[in-house]
């Protein structure tokens, strides 16, 4: 019997296959990015008031379609590149290393903003809950600091919220949200269900800001390719998980935001929301009114736990980004080290923790609003950063496959990415052209915030570009390894050897 007989079962393959992730595990992971209560109960509920529109269901639909279009190319490219978990790797490998570093800096800013914003929502909603239920008055920032400490410690111990725990939380959230939908749709204001939130007429004046909110809500859809190396079937698993994740998010976000405004009256929603901006918007009050106190309580508890889980998950994402960049020497190399016992990317974790502390303290000292300013402004500003990254990644897909099709079909490598890029460009134009509206600032009113957020991304991108060119000048090996994440070390050696030979 020949040792190379192809039919002989391989001990190694069998053993490793048992360790690989099946479709359900990857899907489970991708789905945990969905947080219907946080999106509708906090983000949209604040958004009705700040942005002044009820057209969010249509905005969710439009953004979901665009992101799905984008995902064809994204998933296709993830099969071919290293470090497939981070947008900047796609940019570095598709549009060139300088833009990749620019993308990395934008990503650091964006994920930090998304994470820090959550402390505002956590503090504000828990403060209300405690004063309603236990008649205890605690400042929002004290509660935010409690969560901050919790995240800081778990981040260093490298406790990722177990995917099964997340799944239970999400499962509970989906069941509860479905019940809420039934409550909302069975108690429509004025006795009939209005389809107005699905019309372009409801959306068109605030399309830009509503798109920004929708993109923020979908952040996390990009997570599945992290597992492209570990998934059992590289081709199917990641794609299925990504599209299913988008579908579940769309369904739960659109239905619930529609149902809630139908129940409080589509023409009343914006008014109600503006009157209750400081207390988290009209979502929970309406729920209590139509469904009873239990619905409000269950919803509040799930909202608060899901915000805490999201804060830890964004914290870990940011720490891992810094870790990959440390391995590539784009950030100082100590970011690329792990804490021995836990294997946590310790420096990245501490770095994020410090940023979060500074922001929480700043908001507490200045007395800025935790919901409108911290959660909504910083959160959606983070979402816009992700929108920038998605757009750049979409361009990268085209650039990457134009040189070599690598066996991918024309739809995934060319047609879908071109359509997605055009659509994303339109969305970006809408968002930035109406940036003041997103912050709730009326035309004519002056505010530094209107230019500060876009400028922050501009500065981050320029710093990244300049740094990439400096790296190219001072250390060619480090430059050649940009975008390769944990595998940067081997690329550096190869590059050093090619210099010696050539």
């Amino acid at each position: 019997m020949s040792a190379t007989s192809p039919t002989r079962p391989s001990v190694v393959s069998q053993a490793l296959a048992r360790d690989r992730l099946g479709v359900p595990s990857v899907i489970m992971f991708a789905l945990t990015a969905a947080a219907p209560l946080m999106v509708v109960g906090a983000l949209v509920s604040t958004g009705w008031g700040v942005v002044g529109t009820t057209g969010f269901p249509l905005a969710f639909l439009i953004i979901a379609v665009i992101l799905a279009l984008f995902s064809f190319g994204y998933v296709a490219m993830s099969r071919h590149i290293t470090n497939a978990g981070a947008f900047y790797s796609y940019i570095a490998q598709g549009l060139g290393k300088p833009l990749g570093v620019a993308g990395a800096m934008v990503a650091l800013v964006a994920y930090n903003l998304l994470q820090v914003g959550l402390y505002g929502a956590f503090g504000a909603f828990l403060q209300q809950f405690l004063s309603d239920k236990a008649k205890v008055d605690v400042d929002w920032w004290v509660l935010a600091l409690v969560l901050w400490l919790f995240v800081a410690v778990l981040g260093l111990l490298r406790v990722d919220v177990n995917s099964k725990v997340l799944m239970v939380l999400l499962g509970a959230e989906l069941v509860v949200v479905t019940i809420f939908d039934v409550i909302f749709f069975s108690h429509p204001a004025g006795g009939s269900v209005s389809f107005e939130p699905w019309t372009w007429g409801a959306l068109k004046d605030s399309a830009g800001p509503a798109f920004a909110v929708a993109v923020t809500a979908f952040v996390g859809f990009e997570a599945a390719p992290v597992f492209s190396e570990e998934a059992r079937s590289k081709n199917r698993t990641v794609a299925t998980a990504t599209f299913l994740g988008l579908a579940v998010m769309l369904l739960s976000y659109a239905l619930t935001s529609w149902g809630a405004s139908v129940s409080m009256g589509v023409d009343q929603t914006v008014d109600l929301a503006q009157k209750s901006l400081d207390s988290g918007g009209p979502f929970f009050p309406t729920l209590v009114e139509k469904g009873g106190a239990w619905a409000g309580d269950v919803g509040s508890v799930l909202l608060i736990t899901s915000i805490a889980a999201a804060a830890l998950s964004y914290h870990n994402t940011t720490a891992r980004y810094a870790f990959a960049l440390g391995r590539e020497r784009v950030l100082p190399s100590f970011f690329g080290r792990t804490r021995a016992r836990s294997g946590a990317p310790a420096s990245g974790s501490l770095f994020q923790t410090i940023i979060a502390l500074v922001v929480i303290v700043l908001f507490a000292v200045e007395g800025w609003n935790p919901l409108v300013n911290l959660f909504f402004w910083l959160g959606t500003a983070g979402g816009i950063g992700v929108l920038l990254l998605v757009t750049a990644t979409s361009l990268s897909v085209i650039g990457y496959f134009i040189r070599d099709a690598r066996g991918e079909g024309a739809w995934a490598r060319l047609i879908a990415p071109i359509l997605a890029t055009i659509a994303l460009g339109y969305v970006m134009w809408q968002v930035f052209d109406n940036f003041g509206l997103l912050l709730g600032i009326q035309p004519g009113q002056k505010s530094d915030a209107v230019w500060a957020f876009p400028a922050a991304y501009g500065v981050a991108a320029v710093i990244g570009l300049v740094w990439a060119f400096i790296l190219r000048g001072i250390n060619r090996q480090d430059y050649d390894a940009i975008g390769l994440g944990a595998q940067a070390n081997t690329a550096r050696i190869e590059s050093a050897e090619s210099v010696e030979v050539g």
Partner: protein
């Protein structure tokens, strides 16, 4: 002392036998050390991300023998990463058993909350402590490093153990160590880099 034995003793607490590294890191480190033994015995070569069997003669150590035999049988698997994953699955048990056979460690069961855990305790507490001190003296330049020593130090650095070995991070020591790793014979150097990448990827995909 064999490479994986040395790594095993350094990677576990000398008093309670707890791992000083995360599970994935200790698995990849031990698997890397087992591959390193085969490289040092001139049975295999590591070339970038792949390995090659260059000599089919069985090594004298039974564990190395088994590992080489598996490698020879599984011709379709030549990625270093695959072998790090495969050997890593059973590495703690395999190397622990090997040390137990010569009486250097003893197997004990520790009761945890819901399950019991296997730990390997050194029979002579001075042995692991001595190996740590030795590695420290090597890295800090008190003793000249041979190729096997540099490989051990390189695996310690790749897995994050040097922080423990050195007490405080000594930038000059680390720089000297990185220099030494870079000038190792390419098969050993590439092996260390592969271990480092594997651990980095595990961090990125949040497993282990």
């Amino acid at each position: 002392m064999l490479l994986a034995d040395d790594f095993f003793l350094i990677a576990h607490d000398d008093r309670d036998g707890k791992s000083r590294l995360s599970q994935r890191a200790v698995e990849f480190g031990l698997a890397g050390a087992m591959l390193g033994e085969l490289v040092l015995e001139q049975r295999i070569l590591v070339e970038g991300p792949r390995l090659r069997v260059i000599n089919h003669d069985p090594p004298s150590d039974p564990l190395a023998h088994t590992n080489l035999a598996t490698m020879i049988a599984e011709v379709q698997h030549r990625e270093v990463r695959t072998w790090l994953l495969f050997l890593g699955r059973t590495a703690v048990e395999a190397v622990g058993q090997r040390l137990a056979r010569v009486g250097l460690v003893e197997q004990t069961q520790v009761r945890r909350l819901l399950r019991s855990e296997t730990r390997w305790l050194a029979t002579d507490i001075n042995l692991p402590a001595g190996r740590v001190v030795r590695l420290r003296r090597l890295i800090t330049g008190f003793e000249p490093m041979r190729v096997a020593d540099t490989t051990l130090a390189g695996l310690a650095e790749a897995t994050g153990l040097t922080g423990h070995v050195l007490w405080e991070r000594d930038p000059a020591g680390i720089r000297r160590l990185q220099q030494a790793i870079a000038t190792l014979p390419p098969p050993l150097r590439d092996l260390i880099l592969q271990v480092e990448s594997a651990i980095g990827d595990a961090v990125m995909s949040q497993r282990g």
